[in-house]
């Protein structure tokens, strides 16, 4: 099992390093969001909004960009994971998947290798987004991520776990769809139908306070909301949060575990000899 897993992971990582342009293109979208959307959507400049009121709406974040930068971590987890599932579809198209299925490699190794290798990009992108957002604060004319609370070791570990769990969750979702679906058209239609509503029913991009109550209720249980809540609470303080970050982290872990169970059932079925 370990040898099969190791061989398949090696293949995935080799392919990733052989296509640096795909990494660059994948990173371009979050950078543009940080540079354009994050800078342009300056809620603080709106008339009538006090600094305290704004900070309340932004759950403790000192400005919209800081609030948004944490949300971008959830955003890149969704967008970067799409490619991981698409790669499964292309492997089917080019016969590579048929070769793998023709070997006794266990389905856990086939799935697990793609999960681990496929999560490298979203996790890497998430950290790059945070680093870039912090660097922006030191560039004149740009808003940047302003971390107002002191992030200790526990906080840093919680942030790391949140980033890893949200990446695992969406990569698992994308891979499951990739294993179940055979055509790129159907795959992209399916991920768009799932990912965009997931993103827009979270508080990743717009402030919690501006949402209607019904959307706030949905957003409370959204995995992206849970992940960014761990980040925001650690970076901006816990005064406006109902629960400590560990609770949100536990909720996120439950989502990732649930998604993992669904994936195990569906992918094992998809990898069985065809009927």
């Amino acid at each position: 099992m370990l040898r099969e897993f190791s061989a398949l992971t090696r293949r995935e990582l080799l392919r990733l390093t052989r296509n640096p342009q795909s990494v660059f293109v994948g990173l371009l979208t979050p950078i543009l969001y940080l540079l354009l959307f994050g800078q342009g959507f300056n809620l603080g400049s709106l008339s009538g909004s006090s600094a305290a009121g704004l900070q309340y709406a932004l759950l403790g974040a000192p400005n919209y960009f800081s609030y948004f930068a944490a949300g971008m971590v959830g955003f890149v987890s969704v967008t970067a994971s799409l490619f991981v599932g698409a790669n499964v579809i292309f492997d089917k198209f080019f016969g590579i998947f048929k070769r793998t299925r023709g070997t006794p490699a266990p389905s856990a190794a086939v799935f697990g290798s793609r999960l681990i290798a496929g999560s490298v990009q979203p996790i890497g992108f998430a950290f790059l987004v945070l680093v870039l957002a912090i660097l922006f604060a030191h560039i004149g004319g740009l808003s940047g991520l302003d971390v107002t609370a002191s992030v200790g070791v526990v906080g840093a570990v919680e942030i790391l776990l949140a980033i890893v769990l949200i990446a695992f969750m969406f990569v698992t979702l994308a891979l499951t769809l990739g294993f179940l679906i055979d055509t790129p058209q159907t795959y992209f239609a399916a991920v768009n139908a799932l990912n965009l509503p997931t993103l827009f029913t979270s508080d990743a991009l717009y402030p919690w306070g501006t949402m209607p109550h019904w959307l706030q209720d949905i957003a409370t249980y959204n995995p992206i909301t849970l992940a960014v809540s761990v980040l925001r609470e650690n970076m901006f303080g816990d005064s406006l949060y109902t629960y400590p970050p560990e609770v949100y982290l536990a909720g996120l872990a439950a989502w990732a575990a649930g998604m993992g169970i669904v994936a195990i059932i569906l992918v094992r079925r998809a990898l069985r000899p065809s009927n």
């Binding site: 099992m1 099969e4 061989a7 090696r10 080019f94 016969g95 006794p104 490699a105 065809s274």
Partner: protein, 336 residues
């Protein structure tokens, strides 16, 4: 000792109504090269898929190296090598990486995988290109790489599904040279599907002709050709005298057809009949000016058993279209 490949009444039905394979049964003996020939859509690939644990049969059973395929598909995959019809090598990896990763998929250690990859690259004559991306390989090199991938775990049974499809005659000959060498050195049992009849004739010990999902004839190439009545001898005499009756009396001659001074004889063995026919004609006062002996080809065998000519460039068959239709139907949830 059980035969390495046993198929008993294998049936594959798609969508509940399209029968791609209609109950095929056969055994392949140890060390044998068994050819499965038939036109596109005859059921060749479906049969290979069922034998190699890629497709579940609707009914019937397959036993590979004593292991029931349906009960233990993973064990079967461990014991067989498969070279698929289409290219399955990863074009973005080098030839060496493709082989090393394939070794890992069979649970072979990294070190052992490296050694086996090096040996196979050398053997498959792609050593010089081993560090190049597989997407830069020629068709023949890619096929040899596919063969290397199929052999990385040293199986004793090898399934080849249209292995030389798309290769030029030189590439086909080279590929078969490797297979013959492997059979000789390692005692491989080979199951090959092909629609190149000359390949089956030349390289297979036994052949099954499949058409519309049913095996219509089986035997050695010689046996199959003998079923047509043996050789065809064509004689031309130097006189206008009719020697049909004389030739009919020659032992071994089955039928005689005359056209002017030419005679077409169907006989069990041309080698035996020719000297006797020459002698008989000479005694009858008619000298033979030309003689030719033709062994029946597998094309003629196919024609005999299926009632139609074998064409290598056929498009999708009616069965192919029906299977595709059934799959699309099932993808749409069976709605009309």
């Amino acid at each position: 000792m059980t035969d390495p490949i046993v198929a008993e009444g294998l049936v594959k039905t798609y969508g509940g109504k399209v029968q791609a394979v209609k109950g095929v049964s056969f055994e392949v003996h140890t060390g044998e090269a068994y050819g499965f020939i038939g036109p596109n859509g005859a059921g060749k690939t479906t049969t290979v898929s069922m034998l190699s644990a890629g497709l579940r049969p609707t009914s019937g059973r397959a036993v590979i190296d004593g292991v029931e395929v349906a009960a233990n598909p993973e064990e079967v995959k461990r014991r067989i090598g498969v070279v698929f019809q289409e290219s399955t090598a990863d074009g973005d990896l080098t030839g060496r990486e493709n082989l090393e990763i394939a070794a890992g998929l069979y649970g072979i250690s990294r070190r052992e995988g490296k050694e086996r990859a090096s040996a196979l690259l050398e053997r498959m004559q792609i050593g010089d290109a081993s560090e190049r991306m597989a997407k830069t390989y020629s068709g023949g090199m890619r096929r040899r790489l596919e063969l290397g991938v199929g052999l990385i775990h040293r199986p004793k049974i090898l399934f080849l599904d249209e292995p030389t499809l798309g290769l030029d005659p030189q590439g086909r000959a080279g590929f078969w040279q490797f297979i013959q060498q492997l059979r000789k050195e390692e005692g491989l049992t080979v199951f090959v599907t092909t629609h190149y009849l000359d390949e089956a004739d030349q390289y297979c010990d036994r052949i099954a002709i499949i058409d519309h999902g049913t095996i219509v004839a089986t035997g050695t190439p010689t046996e199959l050709k003998d079923k047509l009545g043996g050789d065809v001898v064509t004689l031309k005499t130097s006189t206008a005298q009719d020697v049909s009756e004389t030739l009919r009396q020659v032992p071994g001659v089955l039928t005689v057809q005359r056209q002017d001074s030419s005679y077409r004889l169907k006989c069990s063995s041309g080698e035996v009949v020719v000297p006797l026919a020459v002698e008989a004609c000479s005694k009858a006062g008619s000298l033979i000016s030309t003689v030719s002996v033709k062994r029946p080809s597998l094309d003629e065998v196919f024609l005999e058993f299926t009632g139609r000519e074998f064409r290598e460039d056929e498009g999708p068959s009616a069965t192919d279209k029906a299977i595709l239709g059934a799959r699309l139907q099932s993808m749409r949830g069976g709605r009309r």
